[in-house]
Subunit: 135 residues, 4 copies
DNA sequence: GTGGTCTAGACCACG
DNA sequence: GTGGTCTAGACCACA
């Protein structure tokens, strides 16, 4: 897997999913985990596109979505910045998490699996290496 | 939401996802949960297409994938049947569940959420009606 | 796998191939291997259809092909008989074998495999026990 | 027989088998034999369809199967590429070869032919022009 | 009647 | 430009 560092952001892109989605997810993740700080400057669309060898339109689409989610903001003539509002980040993080969780539970329900089945699987396969939390 | 019953199968189709995927998911679910029994006859491609008001090719695509997954089998000139092998169903169910769970844990990790965070959310929002798992 | 005995013929039918082809192949095999003797009476179309729970048309199609190949002959009012001519059987056996072999060699060639590769595979996997393949 | 060259691929199509299967087989063969290199770009679905004078859906079906077999991969908006993994090709080649060989041996067994009979036939008819392997 | 293949042509998402 | 989904309708093999 090829990993690319651009400023404080790290990207790992493949061709199995839409490119703009991968940028979106990975920037979101960096913001949620504090890998890029509140108020930090994002790479410009053109710079990122060049580094990732993508069409600028593809990067722009991800940036637009980030802004719509309240995670970034454009400052005229200066570029794009991570929002300074910790509250915005928290709010977004919570709503996305809930969305993921609800979708996941629906999937499990569709397979007829109970919460106990899930816990058991996770205990067996991912039990030890839990972490990555920060609250 | 419009729900349609075809034999022992219930379908609920919208236009937010590919139609063949929705058929696929819902038939999988019915098999996994035993709503349609092992060895039972499936609706014919044409019949289901007519009931769901879609093109037979769309239904056929879902049926082909079901067969590739080992959940159904075609009998020449007779139609499509749910596999008689409980083992096939179990194997498929397990592998799909693991895939879903792994993807979910990756999502949670990308948001910097710990397993405790997840459990807490679920306890609060889905805690009471767990076990039988149905909405 | 379900095996059915009809007179001196043994059938093992599944739904993954055309039914008439399976009858054809298995009767051919029985004749080629002498499991049913030259000049022996074949089961009638109706009888075989009933035993195998098939449509008589399906059995008839196989019988027609057998007759066209010179392996059986109809005697008016008496039914269908395996040919009495050992020469006919030998001729057919040879021509079918050549056809199979040529097709097989074409497949191997299409994968870029040499005869040595094939021999090696067969030595490793089927070398010791001819006929009753069972690992 | 009409042969058509498209990029580094050569096609020879008739109407005796499904068109998508012939594309599938011939592309597989080209990959297995290295006639098209790892990582090379395949003709686009539309281009190949036009060259072979068939419907794009027919070509797409073959391409989907190639991808399912791990021999090719799609890159969003860029086209279809032969996999870069020599291992994937080798794995596929081996498993297909074994499948062909096992089926062939079953055919020979059904005709009551021994391995010696086969070798003799091949020595007589194909003995001189063997080769073309590479590993 | 069943499913399987193919065509023609439309519309969409992605880059 | 790429592939992905869907429709409508034809023709075929099999039972």
């Amino acid at each position: 897997m090829e990993v690319q560092q651009v400023g404080s952001l790290r990207f790992q892109i493949d061709f199995s999913q839409p490119l703009y989605e991968q940028i979106l997810d990975q920037v979101r993740s960096a913001i949620a985990k504090g890998e890029i700080g509140l108020g930090d400057k994002m790479p410009s669309v053109r710079e990122l596109a060049q580094e990732l060898r993508m069409n600028p339109n593809t990067v722009m689409r991800a940036y637009q979505e980030l802004e719509r989610d309240g995670l970034t903001e454009k400052r005229r003539g200066q570029g794009t910045y991570v929002t300074s509002s910790a509250e915005s980040v928290q709010h977004f993080r919570k709503s996305l998490a809930e969305q993921y969780i609800d979708a996941f539970l629906a999937q499990m329900e569709s397979l007829g699996l109970s919460w106990n089945d899930i816990e058991e699987y996770i205990r067996n396969n991912h039990g030890t290496e839990k972490g990555g939390s920060q609250e």
